[in-house]
């Protein structure tokens, strides 16, 4: 970068130069294999050059050689912290293209699981974010204790802890266990008490306040121009949530609020995620009360699913923002084109603008507040 030619007062022969600092690709603060080349002037960051692509596995191209059943598994691996949300997006897209109507029961199951998944994802965020701020390990342990309850619950339903592969066009793979309601209520209780703990740890904590309040403010206009979505966008004060703005699945039946922030700073982004978890609990409670009995798979599904010619862009509100999938179908059992819009990719592109002018140690916090999943960025 450009050399700044000024000298420190009183030290006339000392010249200062900007230096480059390489953070990552294997660094605990980068939340995955992500590299930042920071240009620093003393402690102030003057430029950030994000380097991505280390996690590229061809998750968009691979499904073009897979039939529609196999693609679901690859969506799990796109955003590995919000698997149900990504699966939801894909199966909804296929259902819209083929005109299959999923059964009522499966719709409720999907919403319950997707919302619980949002909670686990946000818990993961809070845990990792605490580490960035400096409450090393503590918040991580608390968040993971509660996440574990939900994870066990998912395992009882789907059999897997991470890559569920559970939603299908037309319904879900198999019915939930008989004790689903009791277990779900138990899990919600755990989450509620766990959220209290986390709030006690974070909300009024002076360390968090001192480091996060007022840091990296983003205005509504900037957020829209940069293409931010999800909690990052709502932290600026804009009330935009795809579950309300463009209700998919059965989200129009539930009563929930969209938490928004005021300042658009890092602190707001954390609070919003805490509030969103509470709203998700509300949705799950309502869905649990309204869940009907009945079949879990639509009638007349063929063993081989052929999707009629057409194209579709389907988007859902994932924990990180707008997760979208664009599919071009040509009437065969494989997608012709399969494109994923990852929320973290767009959000990460604003990192440079958000970090310039901040201190080196704060850039780590700003990166943490974006809540990236590198698998979704690189795909």
């Amino acid at each position: 970068m450009a050399t700044i030619d000024y000298t420190i007062p009183g030290e006339p022969d000392l010249e200062t130069v900007d230096i480059n600092i390489n953070v990552g690709p294997q660094h605990p603060a980068t939340h995955g294999v992500f590299r930042m080349v920071l240009t620093v002037d003393g402690e102030l960051v003057t430029d950030v050059d994000p380097v991505i692509g280390y996690m590229h596995r061809g998750n968009e191209k691979l499904p073009e050689n897979c039939d529609y059943r196999q693609v679901i598994g690859y969506h799990d691996r796109t955003d590995y912290l919000a698997q149900f949300n990504t699966e939801h997006c894909f199966v909804e897209a296929i259902e819209k293209l083929t005109g299959i109507t999923p059964t009522e029961r499966s719709e409720y199951i999907r919403v319950i699981l997707a919302e619980l998944n949002r909670i686990t994802s946000h818990l993961m965020f809070i845990g990792a974010f605490g580490t960035d701020v400096g409450i090393f390990g503590t918040s991580f342990m608390y968040a993971f204790r509660d996440r574990e309850y939900v994870q066990d619950f998912f395992e009882e339903i789907t059999g897997e802890r991470m890559m569920y592969n559970y939603f299908r066009p037309g319904g879900v793979a198999w019915d939930v266990p008989d004790n689903f309601r009791e277990r779900c209520t138990q899990v919600l209780d755990h989450i509620n008490s766990g959220l209290k703990d986390l709030e006690g740890l974070i909300v009024d904590n002076e360390v968090v306040l001192a480091r996060c309040r007022g840091l990296s403010r983003v205005s509504i206009e900037d957020a829209i121009n940069w293409g931010l979505s999800g909690p990052l966008l709502r932290a600026t004060g804009l009330e935009y949530d795809l579950r309300k703005a463009e209700p998919y699945s059965i989200y129009d039946r539930f009563d929930f609020d969209i938490p928004t922030g005021k300042a658009g700073d890092v602190y707001d982004r954390v609070l919003i995620r805490l509030d969103e978890m509470k709203q998700s609990v509300r949705i799950v409670e309502q869905a649990l009360a309204g869940m009907p009995d009945g079949p879990i798979m639509a009638e007349g599904m063929k063993r081989i699913l052929r999707v009629p010619e057409g194209e579709i862009y389907m988007r859902v509100e994932g924990p990180r923002g707008e997760y979208g999938v664009y599919i071009v179908a040509t009437g065969t059992d494989k997608p012709y084109r399969h494109k994923v819009r990852g929320a973290s990719f767009s959000n990460l592109s604003a990192l440079r603008a958000m970090s310039i002018g901040n201190y080196l140690s704060d850039v780590i916090i700003i990166l943490g507040s974006i809540d990236i999943v590198l698998c979704e960025v690189d795909r």
Binding site: C66, D67, R69, Q70, G73, Y74, I135, T138, Y142, R145, E148, D152, E155, E156, I157, T158, G159, E160, M163, N165, R168, G170, G171, V172, A173, W174, P177, D197, G200, L201, I202, V203, D204, N205, E206, V207, V208, L209, P295, I296, M297, M301, K302, R303, I304, L305, R306, T332, D333, K334
Partner: protein
């Protein structure tokens, strides 16, 4: 200062309760019935042969191509001891590549393959990746020795694993043909 005290209160409360973790290698959590370990083949104790007919449907539908199967004529059919015309000859499954997606279980028409829901056989660490390519005997061992008592299977005929009801054996040939076409499309 008040906020930090509040946070300390949370810490103190947590210090008083029992640990939520388990000392893994010595203590193991109970796995749920549906737990999806790695796929294993099932042994038909009635006929004393594997359920698997070697039809290769699972091999075709595995997203990562980690299954290789060959089929042979069933000698027991000739002897009149079994109704299966064909039986599996060689079955290789690469555990190192398997992504535990459950698709092979879902598509198998004979309920011959299930996901292992015990702790045995899924704690794999070897020095050579080749050791993770299991052959027919190794895949059948779990079921044959009775370690795998209660595998999770969806009832036949009901929307089996969601995709579609399982087809009868007559329709089966037709379906297999159709899927072959689809495989090329």
């Amino acid at each position: 200062m008040l906020g930090i005290l509040k946070a300390l209160k949370t810490t103190l409360r947590a210090a008083m309760r029992k640990p939520v973790t388990v000392q893994y290698p010595t203590e193991k959590k109970e796995l749920p019935h549906r737990s999806r370990g790695l796929p294993v083949l099932l042994w038909d104790f009635e006929k004393d042969e594997p359920f698997c007919t070697g039809c290769q449907v699972c091999a075709r539908y595995c997203p990562v191509d980690c299954i290789t199967v060959t089929m042979k004529d069933n000698p027991k059919k000739a002897a009149g001891k079994s109704k299966r015309k064909k039986i599996v000859d060689q079955f290789y499954l690469d555990y190192a590549r398997c992504m535990r997606c459950d698709i092979c279980v879902e598509v198998c028409n004979f309920d011959a393959i299930v996901m292992n829901n015990t702790w045995e056989g899924v704690e794999l660490s070897t020095y050579d990746r080749q050791d993770l390519v299991l052959d027919t005997d190794a895949l059948l061992k779990q079921s044959r020795t009775g370690q795998l008592k209660d595998p999770f299977r969806e009832p036949m005929g009901v929307a089996h694993s969601g995709w579609s009801p399982k087809v009868e054996e007559e329709e089966e040939a037709e379906e297999t043909k159709a899927s072959e076409e689809g495989g090329e499309g």
